[in-house]
């Protein structure tokens, strides 16, 4: 909590897409944003507001056209492809709307995937992966394949996977979009627990109920941050 340096700092981020040879779409037009350690941020906005572009940039899946993006103190806005891959692997945990587990792998292997691409010793990390599976309540399904799990269970595997590399932040893209309200709530509570344990969460959603759980709700419009709402201190008090 006491860390002064923010985990994420965006400085005048612009992102332009060329449609054809002449039309240029300005998806982001100079966004400034800071997200601190242990923050829980929800990004909302109608389609076309630059929400997805923002997500891709925050996830290091894309580079801004101009501006600077500091992730954990390092500038990732001009990084070459391989370094960007490494940044994703080490600093960001992804949770997707459609779970995106790898079909041919078991639960435990899916959790191990980010470790694999860092050249980590899978045997040495095995116990920790089992711990994570237990944390999300799937300790008894380590050898199940994704098609043998329900949607909620799959998303919980994805949560465990996002934690395995001990990332700076967890980036969740509509994590409850494919779930019914009950399992959606379960997953959101899991994410809330992680935040209370100190994890930084950035969540993209268009569901007000989902956004209500975050400390900060950032509304985007036309490629800019329209307004920011700080939520009731109920959760903040819990953290404090």
């Amino acid at each position: 909590m006491s860390q002064s340096q923010p985990i994420i700092r965006l400085e005048k981020i612009e992102k332009h897409y060329a449609l054809g040879s002449e039309i240029v779409v300005r998806a982001l037009c100079g966004v400034d944003l800071e997200i601190g350690h242990g923050d829980y941020v929800a990004i909302m906005g109608p389609s076309g507001s630059g929400k997805s572009t923002m997500l891709n940039l925050l996830g290091c899946l894309d580079r801004p056209t101009s501006g600077r993006y500091f992730l954990g103190g390092t500038d990732v806005s001009k990084m070459p492809d391989d370094e960007l891959s490494e940044a994703r692997g080490k600093r960001i945990g992804f949770i997707f709307q459609s779970y995106n587990l790898i079909a041919q792998l078991t639960v435990i292997e899916n959790i191990q995937v980010p470790l694999m691409y860092q050249g980590a010793d899978l045997v040495a990390h095995h116990d920790r992966c089992v711990q994570l599976a237990k944390l999300v309540g799937l300790g008894d399904r380590l050898d199940h394949r994704p098609f043998q799990l329900s949607g909620g269970q799959q998303q919980r595997v994805a949560v465990a996977r996002s934690l395995v590399n001990d990332p700076l932040m967890i980036l969740a893209d509509e994590p409850t979009g494919n779930l019914d309200s009950k399992t959606g709530t379960e997953v959101l509570e899991l994410i809330g627990d992680l935040n209370r344990q100190g994890k930084t969460i950035v969540l993209v959603t268009h569901d007000d109920k989902v956004a209500a759980r975050a400390h900060r709700v950032i509304h985007m419009r036309d490629g800019l941050i329209d307004r920011e709402v700080r939520n009731a201190p109920r959760t903040l008090a819990a953290v404090a």
């Binding site: 899946l61 391989d82 792998l105």
Partner: protein, 430 residues
């Protein structure tokens, strides 16, 4: 390095897993490589076996030898066939042998041979045989094992002794119960004392008789001194057939010229032919040079191998294209998985490696099965036919190596295509 190898084994394990997800598809994809590798090994084995047999046969004739054989001239043969009776004189002469010995450089020995078909008798038993009139050094030039007794000697030759050496198989026909040595057998009107038993090493070699291209197999021979044959049988052979008879005058049926080394064979070959051409008006002899036959056999094998190699290359390329096709489809099908892996930290080269490993597993797996089938198939061919087959380790290694190479070459493009995908686009892919 350790981390690298461990991650490679992990990649291979996971690759295998992905392939097992579509067992039928993977198996069908491998078929092309399986058949390619199998056919390469099997065909090479059959070719190798055939050329080995040919070379063995040629080597038995002796690489240092030039073999001259009397051949009945074809136009004379026609006359003989049409007339009721005829008389023909043809073939190699004693003079030919003497001329070759004295004028051609590099000649070590000249072995004259007369061959006469006769019937040999002992008490009430009879067997058809070939009387081979030759000189005592016959054994030095032709592969012949003396099982018992001795071969013809200089003294026998000088004195025109009525002694003979007979083939072991012929002896067992004539003397089922007695010891053949020191017995006397009757050929035509004369008796010959058996002084030795011989076993021919190469029954495949056949001798011409009266211009025939194919003669009797070599294992019913009776060897008698040349001088003895000359005095007992003469040079005229009369054959009676229905309603007529045929008279042939042939001095020598075969002259085997043993040269001093392979170079002498090369130069002596043409010189001997030129020499004979001057003294023979008609083409009543043939020259067989085993060394040349050997070279021809090697040349044939070389061409055969090139043809096989091309067929193999085409079939393996076809197999490789099959693999590439499937892998491209797989990449499209798994676009989303590629996006997820990229998001979770996979670099481009990780993706390349993943798909390359899958392709190589397919092709090398196909190669392994192909090698197994390729080793078994020639065995079955040998079992079902009389063909000899030899599976050389080199052909196995070659086929296997090429299958691996095909995997890498045809896997590289789909793997690169997978790695080039934009992670954002790939994640959005349905």
């Amino acid at each position: 390095m350790k981390i690298f190898t461990s991650s490679l084994t992990t990649t291979m394990r996971l690759g295998l897993k992905s392939l097992m997800l579509h067992k039928l598809r993977s198996a069908l994809t491998m078929l092309g490589i399986i058949f390619g590798v199998c056919s390469v090994i099997a065909m090479l084995a059959i070719g190798e076996g055939a050329s080995y047999e040919a070379q063995q046969a040629i080597q038995k004739l002796g690489r240092d030898n030039i073999i001259l054989r009397s051949v009945k001239p074809p136009d004379e043969a026609k006359q003989a066939g049409s007339g009721r009776s005829s008389s023909v004189e043809y073939g190699l002469t004693y003079n030919d042998g003497a001329r070759i010995q004295s004028t051609i450089p590099g000649v070590e020995r000249v072995l004259p041979v007369r061959i006469i078909r006769e019937t040999v008798r002992f008490s009430d038993r009879a067997a058809s045989c070939q009387v081979i009139g030759t000189l005592p050094f016959y054994t030095e030039i032709v592969n012949l094992d003396l099982v018992r007794g001795r071969f013809l000697s200089e003294t026998d030759e000088m004195n025109q002794n009525n002694v003979c050496v007979i083939s072991a198989s012929l002896a067992s026909k004539l003397f089922p119960y007695q010891d053949p040595l020191e017995q006397s057998v009757k050929i035509d009107a004369f008796y010959y004392r058996v002084i030795g038993l011989a076993r021919e090493k190469d029954t495949a070699e056949q001798r011409p008789q009266s211009g025939q291209m194919e003669g009797e197999p070599l294992d019913n021979n009776i060897y008698i001194c040349l001088s003895t044959v000359r005095s007992r049988f003469g040079e005229t052979i009369i054959r009676r057939s229905a309603g007529g008879f045929e008279v042939e005058r042939v001095q020598l049926h075969q002259i085997t010229v043993k040269m001093k080394g392979l170079e002498a064979v090369e130069s002596g070959d043409n010189e001997i032919k030129a020499l004979l051409a001057r003294f023979h008006k008609q083409n009543d002899y043939e020259a067989i040079v085993p060394l040349q036959l050997l070279r021809q056999a090697e040349q044939t094998k070389y061409i055969f191998n090139i043809v096989l190699g091309s067929i193999a290359a085409i079939s393996l390329i076809v197999g490789g294209i099959g693999i590439m096709n499937i892998m491209l489809a797989t990449v499209t099908e798994r676009t989303r998985e590629i996006g997820v892996r990229r998001a979770l930290g996979a670099k481009r080269r990780d993706i390349t490696l993943q798909f390359l490993v899958e392709t190589v597993i397919l092709s090398v797996g196909g190669g392994l099965i192909g090698v197994m089938l390729g080793v078994v198939a020639p065995m079955m061919v040998s079992q079902l036919t009389t063909m000899k087959t030899i599976v050389t380790p080199l052909s196995v290694l070659l086929a296997f190596g090429i299958s691996g190479l095909v995997g890498i070459i045809f896997g590289l493009y789909p793997a690169k295509a997978a790695a080039r995908l934009d992670p954002i686009e790939a994640l959005r892919h349905e």
